[in-house]
Each structure stands twice: as C-alpha cells, then as structure tokens.
C-alpha cells in the first residue's frame, strides 16, 4: 500500500523523507501560533479550547469557594459569618456560576479542544466564531462574578423568579440577565460550530455510523442547545423589558403572570441538566472501551438512547413546578414523562456495564473516576425517580433533599466523568501523564468528601430544612447533619487541591508520555504527542470505529502523510469538508488564522450589554454599532473570499472545490442552525402571547385598542416584497444580470425599511401603552423583535449590494447572497406570523 502514489500514478512522493520534512515545515509555518501579546489573537481550536477549559474551570473554583462559604455559614445554627443579603448573593452566584459558567461552557470547551482530534480534522469550520464565543464567555463571566465584590451580585436565586427578582432593588437581576444572555449567545455560537463540525468536518470515509460516540453526543447536545437556550433568551428579553421599562409581563396586577417566567425558564432549565450530563457521559463512552480493550458493546443503543434522552428531556420541565398548583392531570403526565427518561439513561449505563463484562478491564485513574461517577450518578438518578412522583415531591421540593439530589446527579453525571476525561485526555493535550498515585488520592478525597457532604442532606431536607435559607434555629434536629455536610465540603476542596497540585507538578516535567499511552483504538490517539500546531499530520481515511485497533498500518500511513492534505502548498490553513451522511470529500475549506476582530467584536458586544445594565442607553447603542462594525469588517475581510483557483487536489486521487455556496457549504449550515435557534426564541414569544390568552377570560382585553389590522397588513405585504426582491436578486446574480441584481437588492432594502415603519405604525398610531397591561406589552415585544431582525435583514442586503459592487460577490462566488436569502426566509416567516398574531388574532378572538 505504501507504494500507491497520492494521485494513483508514478512514485509516491510520501516515500521521500526530504519531501515529508518540507511538508511538515510548511504545515508548521502555516499553523504557527502568534507570539507575544498577539498570542491572544489566536483562533484555532487547540488554543481557544485550552483557554476555554482553563476559564470555565476557574469559574468552577470560584463557585466552589462560594459553596464553601455557604457550608461555613450553615455549619452551626444561627450562623452569622455572612449577612442575609450577602448569603443570598452567594448562593445565587454559586448556582448561576456552576450552571452557566461551568456546566455548559466546559462542554463547549472540551468539545472545541477535542472534536477536531476525534474527527482527524485540522480545526473546526469557524475558528473565529469559537474565539468570539470564548471572549464573550470570559467577559460575561467576569462581569457576573465580579459583581459580588461590589455587593451588587444577583440575589434572587439562579432561577430568578419574578416578582421577587423584579421587586428587589439594585442591579443584581440585570447583571444576571444581561451577563447571561451574553453567555447564552456564546453557547449558541459554540453549538453552531460543533454541530456543523460533526456533520460536515468528519474525515473522508467516516460514515455517520462510524462517528465516534463523543461526536454523536456533541451533535445531540448541540441540537439541544439550539432548542433549549432560545426560550430562556426570549424570557430574558421579556424580563429585561419589564425590569428596565416596566412592561408588565410577569406582574399579576397588570395582566401578567409570574408563572410564564417559570415555564420559559424550565423549558430551558430541564434540558440544560441533560446538556450538562450527556457530554460527560460521552467522555465515558470513549474511556470505557479503551480500558475494556474492546469496542463498545452496543453502539447503536448508545446513539439511540442518547437521542431519546435528548427528546424526552424537553417534556419534563414542569416537574420543577409541581407545587405551583397544577391540575392533577398535568401532575400525572409530567410524573410519567419524568420517569420515562430513566429508560434511555439506563440503557447507556447498561451498555457500559456490558462492555466492561465482555472486555478485559485495565484498572486506571480514569476508570476509577468512571466507577465513582456510576455510583454517585445512579444514587442521584434513584432519588430523581422518587421526586419525579408528584406526591413525594410535595415534601421534597425546595428542601435540602433536592439539594442532595441535584448534586448527586451533577457530581456523578458530570464532575466525575469530567475528571475521568481529564485524566484520560491530559496526555493527548500535553504529552504528559498525570500521577497515578495522586490521581487515586484525589479520587478518594473527592468521592468520600462528596458523599459526606451531600448524603446527609437527604435527611436534612426530610427533617424539614428548606433550601436557600441563610440560617436556621437550634433544636430542629438539623445541627448534626449540617455540621457533617460542612466538614465534607472541606474534604472536597482538598480533593480539587490535589488535582491542581498534580497538574502544576506535571506541567513542569518534560513530556515523556508514550504515544497512545492507554492503547486506545479511536482516531484522536493517532496524533503526535506532545501535539503539533497543525493538529493532524494528514487527514485520515476512516473505515472503522476503532481504526488504530482494526488497521495495523494505520499509524504508519498517518505518520508518513499518506492520507489527505499532507501539505500546505499554498500557505493556507486547510481542512476537509465532507458530505453529511457518507463523508465523501466535497470541499477543501480554507480556515482563517489569527485575527483581532473576534476580540474587538466581543469587547464591543460586552460593552453593549454592560452599559445596558446601567441604563446608559446612548452608550449602549454606540457600543452596539461598534460591535456591528467589527462583525461586518470580519465578514467582509475573512469569509467567503474568492480563492486563487477553483479546485484543489487533496490526495488519494481526490479533487475538490475550494469555494462553496448554498446548501453544500458550511456557512449556509451555520446560518440555518443559527436561524433555527432564533426561530425557537421567537416562537417562545408567540407562546407567551397565547399563554396570556389561556390565563385570561378576555384576551386581548375588551377595552384594549390593539395595533389595528392596517399597519400589520401593510407591513406583512412589504416584507413579502422585500423577501421576493432578495430571492430575485440571488437568481439574477446567478445568471450574471449585474444591473438587475443591484436594482433588486436596493429595492429590497427600501421595501424592508418601509415595512419596518408600517409595523411600528400599527401599535404607535393606536396609542398602545406597553406599561399599561401585559397585552400591549407582548404586542410591542413582538414588534420590537421583528423590527430588530428586519434591521439586520436590511444590513445583510446592504452587505450583498456592497459586495456585488466591489466584486467580492459574483455569480460564481455567491455565498453571501445565499445566506442572506436564507436569513430572509426565516425573517419573512416570523414577520408574517407576527402580523397574523397581533393584527389578525384580535379579529377572531
């Protein structure tokens, strides 16, 4: 096989060591990281992934310290270490940071670092998007966490239930809202990146059913983020409108309902638990086969049950709301649905056990953590089964029993698997093995500390101790379990300290770990250790799930660069895009190198959110324009650039295009996924409109003016026109009708702008006062949403027009207009639904 040349004719150049050395030098030059301060302009996944992991781990430690403060306060009855106000900030921030700054981001972080390696790719398709997401995450996280040092942290619990969160003075609630909205944007950015990564950047030959299980989980979790985060973003949008402008969505005295927030929050909040849990199980799905030294014993079972878990997790949210006064029929339904999720979860656990039974198990630190994870998670799952039954939840809900349950599921379902993954993949990232002895010590400290802390809390809760109390009196039998819990917390801290010490110690040592130290079979272990800047030396052709085990010459061929793209002839960073199902190569994707724009855009966007917190509206708008400018500059200079040649030879006789537009391209997929998330947020607003209708006997209220039908109707027609002109421009451009294309784009902008004016005119002319009642408020919220989106639609049309005039958009290079048209499809749909709802529904209601 070694004699087969890359193009199938003549001697193979890869046989020549000199040629290989020259290739490696070129690759190294192309993928070299910038030096000095410019290091921070790096965008590729190996750097961004690492920063992401370190940052979210740091936030976890910060939140952990807050947890220690909680335990110190509660160690004795009538504790007075913290004031009530400070304690409330501490527990709110503990939950918020653990969930939003650690639980979800660590998934994105690990996936950004690992996914290209698992797929044998050089990078993810949108490195600058990852970098942008990281900087958003860092800035938003610092903003939210830093607030506690100014006594201004959110203090209404991580669930932010109104009316409390709205009534309480201070800017804490807005820091929470805006800081986290910002991070939610980063999460969706990461989800888009990862979904497209799994679907389009798998190595040639890696048919969907050969995808490493981790890739499947990333795909599923990415999909869950796209559907779970937007309802919360919609909720945040309404919340901020109420907090800043007094639009009464959640104010019962003006037609609102606090329960609406609970629905929006938990439609996000419950899937979020699985968004945190599944990626960690994904790590176990990689680890267990390695240490059983055999393939996983039920690949399809794992994939199907992970998909099942993802689906069912969207049908359980109301089990957080059993005690809000739901009718018995709903209680029964959600109890049953909550139990149903046990089945797919159970299957995944049994697949691991079956794999271990069938293999020869090698004992190691990762396996120890995996076993600990199983013990803790199953205990948490079993208490979950209990509280899913509504009558028992009436006692358990909002008591320390729940605190115990959720920590069992998250520690067992997330922290322990993550630690297993950390010990497992550390050598891949650094070429160094962590200490086995210290690893075992850390495990026992964490395992014992965890159980000592949280096991007694089941009892504390059933003895009647509610959650979120800053103190408790004596003589209720709560003293001993609380003291035990507090002592356990110290042991947990010692466990993490051991891990950190081990990491520092190991990083100082020279890299001595042998390649593939665990004798694993999956693709990522083909990489050199310590890692090279280019990631994969050559992008492999995959024919099995465990190529290192199954193909004896796989590593040798890889080392000799005998697969795809062993070189960087043109001095560009490249990776391969393949088809979704069969992974046939379809494009040689040029990915961008270091750049400042992601940071500039993130800083400007951060400034926009932070300034909004302080209601400095002028500066907010200004920062918004800077952010928009930075993003436009980034798109103009770095995306969809016409290449120097249309087609490129990528090795093994494959020739693929360099430029792609439309449904084949990664950019179109990214736009589609982003707009799907955006649509879900929009539908959550529509849901809110009809939620009000279900709780009021007269909705819209008889005495409310409504926006009339004329304004919405005119707006609807104008948006149809603007959409039609955009579509026509794409088709005309395809046929190289230069003048007609420009006329259509220009007229489209005009039609869209008049459409915006017509949409605003409806409720403005009838004098609809958004602060008066929830009805005018939700009408205005829908209008504001569409106006903002239409504004972006106009900017995209303008971007295409400018590109067309400057020659970056031509009939052969038309990705921009494809994506703009796609955007307008979604925009038209939401605009029409809005006009029907606000203009049409009052006529039939």
């Amino acid at each position: 096989m070694t004699s087969v040349s890359r193009d199938g004719h003549g001697p193979d150049p890869q046989d020549d060591p000199a040629i290989r050395r020259a290739q490696e030098e070129r690759l190294a030059r192309v993928w070299e990281q910038p030096k000095g301060w410019r290091y921070w302009t790096a965008v590729n996944n190996s750097e961004v992934g690492l920063w992401y992991i370190v940052t979210s781990f740091a936030f976890m430690l910060f939140a952990g310290v807050l947890g220690l403060l909680i335990r110190a306060q509660l160690a004795r009855p009538d504790g007075d270490l913290l004031s009530a106000e400070l304690y409330n900030q501490v527990f709110t921030l503990h939950g918020t940071a653990m969930m939003f700054l650690f639980g979800v981001p660590i998934f994105e972080a690990v996936a950004i670092l690992l996914l290209p390696a698992l797929l044998g790719a050089r990078d993810l398709p949108f490195p600058r998007l990852s970098a942008f997401g990281f900087w958003c995450f860092l800035l938003g996280g610092l903003f939210v966490c830093g607030s506690i040092f100014f006594d201004a942290a959110p203090n209404s619990g991580w669930f932010m239930y109104p009316p409390l969160s709205i009534d309480q003075g201070g800017i804490g609630a807005e820091i929470w809202l805006l800081g986290l909205s910002f991070i939610e944007v980063a999460s969706i950015a990461a989800a888009v990146e990862l979904i497209v990564g799994v679907l389009k950047c798998r190595p040639p030959g890696m048919h969907l059913n050969l995808t490493p299980l981790y890739g499947w989980y990333v795909l599923i979790v990415g999909g869950m983020i796209v559907f779970a985060f937007p309802p919360l973003i919609a909720g945040d949008f309404l919340f901020e409108l109420e907090k800043a402008f007094d639009w009464p969505f959640f104010d019962a005295s003006r037609g609102g309902d606090p329960l609406l927030w609970q629905h929006l929050f938990w439609i996000f909040g419950h899937p979020e638990v699985y968004i945190i849990f599944l990626p960690s199980i994904a790590l176990l799905a990689m680890i267990v086969p390695t240490f059983a030294q055999r393939p996983i014993a039920g690949y399809s079972w794992v994939v199907l049950s992970a998909i099942g878990t993802g689906f069912i997790s969207f049908g359980l949210w109301a089990h957080h709301m059993y005690t809000t006064g739901m009718p018995s029929i709903s209680l029964g339904f959600f109890s049953a649905a909550s139990e149903a999720v046990v089945i797919p979860t159970g299957i995944q656990i049994f697949v691991f056990i079956a794999t271990l039974m069938m293999g020869r198990v090698i004992r190691s630190v990762p396996m120890l953590f995996a076993l600990g994870a199983l013990m803790i998670f199953v205990a948490g799952g079993l208490t979950g089964v209990m509280i899913a039954v509504a009558p028992f939840d009436f006692q358990g809900h909002d008591s320390y029993f729940i605190v115990a349950h959720l920590h069992y599921t998250l520690f067992g379902g997330m922290v322990f698997p993550l630690m297993a993954g950390f010990y497992y993949y550390f050598p891949l990232a650094f070429g160094k093995l962590l200490s086995r002895r210290l690893g075992i010590i850390a495990f026992w400290l964490l395992f014992v500390g965890f159980n000592v802390t949280f096991l007694p809390m089941h009892l504390t809760g059933l003895l009647g101790m509610p959650r979120r109390v800053f103190t408790y009196p004596q003589n209720l039998g709560w003293e001993i379990p609380n003291l035990v819990s507090s002592l356990g917390a110290i042991v947990i801290a010692a466990g993490f300290a051991t891990v950190i010490l081990d990491v520092i110690r190991t990083l100082r040592n020279p890299a001595t770990a042998p390649r593939n130290p665990w004798n694993a079979g999956t693709v990522e272990w083909m990489l050199e250790m310590p890692p090279k800047p280019w990631g994969a030396r050559t992008i492999p052709h995959i024919e099995s799930r465990y190529p290192i085990w199954d193909a004896p010459d796989f590593l040798a061929r890889y080392d000799a660069g005998r697969f795809y793209l062993p070189d960087a002839e043109e001095g560009k960073r490249e990776t391969i895009v393949t088809s979704v199902l069969d992974a046939d190569p379809v494009q040689c994707l040029r990915v961008p190198g270091p750049g400042l724009m992601p940071i500039v855009a993130a800083v400007a966007l951060a400034a926009m959110f932070f300034l909004a917190t302080f209601h400095l509206w002028t500066l907010t708008v200004l920062a918004g324009f800077v952010a928009l400018g930075a993003i436009l500059w980034w798109l103009w200079t770095g995306t969809a650039l016409p290449p120097e040649k249309p087609v490129k030879e990528i090795g093994l006789g494959e020739r693929v295009p360099i430029y792609m537009a439309g449904p084949q391209s990664v950019g179109w997929w990214a736009m589609f996924i982003t707009m799907t998330a955006d649509l879900v947020a929009y539908l959550s607003l529509v849901f809110s409109y009809f939620f009000f209708w279900t709780i009021h006997t007269d909705f819209p209220p008889a005495d409310a003016a409504g926006p009339g039908w004329a304004g919405p109707l005119a707006a609807g027609l104008l948006f149809v026109l603007a959409w039609g002109l955009t579509l026509a421009a794409r088709k005309l451009n395809d046929r190289a009708h230069i003048g007609a294309t420009r006329v259509c784009l220009g007229a489209g902008i005009l039609a869209g702008a008049v459409g915006i004016a017509a949409l605003i005119a409806g409720p403005a002319l009838t004098g609809l006062d958004a602060t008066h009642h929830a009805y005018p408020a939700i009408v205005w919220a829908l209008v504001v949403w569409i106006v903002a989106h239409a504004g972006i639609g106009l900017v995209s049309q303008g971007f295409c027009l400018a590109g067309h005039i400057r020659g970056r958009l031509t009939s052969d290079h038309d990705a921009d207009i494809w994506n703009t048209t796609l955007y307008w499809h979604f925009l038209l749909f939401t605009a029409l639904v809005t006009t029907l709802v606000i203009g049409g529904f009052p006529l039939v209601a």
Partner: protein, 316 residues
C-alpha cells in the same frame, strides 16, 4: 447507601418540622411511600454496583454480543419499564383530589414578606389572626393560599406536602392533621432577604379543643385596661399598621395583634415570644429580620418600649 444511612438515623428522624415524623394523614402516606421507595432504590443501587464491580474485577468471560444485548434490553428497558410503571401506579394514587371541598374548616393563608396573614373560616365566621396555625386533629382542613407581593410556599412537613402561593392565583391544599402537638412550618420558596425567618408554629388541638380555641380567638383582646403601654402603642402610631380586635381596628398592613401575647413565637418564627424578644424587635426589627417591613423605634426611650412590650404580652 442512602437507605442504610437513613435506617441508622431513624432515631434522629424526629423533630417538630420533620416529614419523617408525621402528624398528618398526607405526611404519613408520603412517609411510608418514601420508605418503600428507599428500600427499592437501595436494592437496585446495590445490585447495579455489584454487577459493575464484578465486571471490573472478574476475569473476562466468553460473553457474546447476544449476552450484551440481553443485558442492555433486560436491565435498561424491560426492568425499568415494569418497575417505573408499578411505582407510578402506587405513587400517583396518592395524588390529591382537589375537586369539591370536603372540609368544613377553611384557613386562608396569605403570604407576606416575611410573615403569614391567617384567617379561619367556618360557616359564616371569619377570624383574623397571624403567624400561627391552629388545627383540629382528625378533621380535614382546606387551606386557601394567596399572596400579593412575591411567591411564597406554605409548608408544614409534619402534616403534609407544600403548596406555593402565587401572585394572581389562588391555590388550595387539603390536609388532615392526626396527632395533637406543636409543630413548625416554614416558607419553602425563596422570597427575599429573610426567607429563612419566615416560619410559624402549628398547634394541632385534640378533637373538641379546637372549637374552644376558636371561640377564644374570636373574642376581642383580653386586656382592655388603659395601661401606659396601650397609650404608647396608640400614641406612637403602631395602630396604623397593626389591628388589635376590640381596641383599635385601623391598619391592616402588619400582623394582627389581638392575641399576640398567646403566640409561641415572635415575627413569624424568628424568636420565641418573650419580653426581651419583643423589646429587641420594637427597637430594631431589621437587626432580627433583615428586610422586615416594620420601621425601627430606636428613638423611643427603653422604658416606653418595655411598656409596649408588656402591653402586647398581656394580649392573650
């Protein structure tokens, strides 16, 4: 593991606020259901962990793919389906039935930051009180739960499960206390700075005695003497917020004080009722209960505050 620890701790399960030491029909049902679940869960946990540890320690057997599939389907699909169906059948039987009201006694509880407005309704009678719940043993009681400020949750663990109070909604809860005694309840939904200090005493009266208590509670304030404390109470404007039945019925912002002297705790379970506690409270409520609505009276001389405290204690 969970079960073992809980069984070891059975003697520690008591306490006035314990769901594991029930004094009501609903709490009892949930308690025995919980015990049944704990035993089941502990068994399942032990079996599963035994299998996993065995799989790691044992030499590999000659297991086939078919064996793996049997294990996965049996353990992951069939067993949980049967087990959970059984659990739901048993568990959901004790779902409360809120259609119609069998209760002849109705207690309206209205959550406030951070105390409880209580009104007893029996027949045409409606008796206003605060921060203490009195119940007759052996009789179903309907609670009508409301709030206007923020969400609270009304929880009496020894009597039964909790129910939220939502602004704009009226929630109901029917519970049947069984064992006379004194218990403690608390707010279970985070409601602001002093959420931790929003509790109440529960007195379950033996059958028959409740009606005597109700008659006493209906009567106006016990001490109608023109004391110095009473004069000061009125002169300092306390009555603008607090009603004392039969003496002054102006304000309703704060808790009703008609029989405050007979309550077991002060400021919704914040401290045991005593002269000292009352004095501290009137002087500076925020020190005892951050975020409380009552203003401080630090400007009053100590002897005046003591006189007011004595007056309040005399209202039994």
């Amino acid at each position: 593991m969970v079960a073992l620890l809980l069984l070891l701790l059975v003697p520690a399960c008591g306490g006035p606020q314990s769901a594991l030491d029930p004094a009501g029909l609903e709490a009892e049902r949930i308690g025995s259901f919980f015990l049944f679940m704990v035993l089941g869960a502990a068994t399942i946990w032990a079996l599963l962990m035994g299998t996993a540890i065995l799989a790691i320690l044992r030499r590999p057997g000659r297991h086939t793919e078919r064996f793996a599939n049997t294990l996965i389907i049996g353990g992951g699909v069939i067993f949980p389906t049967i087990g959970l169906a059984a659990l739901l059948t048993v568990g959901l039987r004790s779902l409360p039935d809120w259609s119609g009201s069998p209760a002849d006694l109705r207690i309206h509880v209205h959550g406030e930051q951070f105390w409880w407005r209580v009104a007893y309704e029996r027949g045409d009678e409606r008796i206003v009180s605060a921060n203490e719940i009195h119940l007759p043993a052996g009789e179903p009681v309907e609670f009508v739960l409301t709030t206007a400020d923020v969400i609270h949750s009304f929880w009496m663990p020894a009597i039964g499960g909790k129910m939220d109070m939502m602004p704009g909604r009226v929630n109901r809860l029917i519970l049947t206390p069984t064992t006379p005694g004194i218990y403690r309840g608390a707010c279970a939904e985070f409601c602001g700075p002093s959420h931790a200090l929003m509790a109440f005493a529960i007195v379950v009266h033996p059958p028959g005695e409740f009606d005597d208590w109700l008659v006493a509670e209906t009567s106006p304030a016990s001490n109608s003497a023109e004391t110095e404390g009473r004069r000061l109470f009125l002169a300092n404007g306390c009555a603008a917020c607090h009603r004392i039945g039969g003496i002054v019925e102006l304000g309703e912002v704060g808790p009703d004080l008609t029989h405050v002297g007979s309550r077991r705790t002060l400021a919704a379970g914040t401290a045991p009722m005593s002269r000292q506690a009352l004095t501290d409270w009137i002087t500076d409520p925020q020190a005892l209960k951050p975020g409380a609505g009552m203003p401080a009276y630090t400007m009053l001389p100590e002897e005046e505050i003591l006189a007011i405290a004595d007056f309040l204690l005399s209202l039994e």
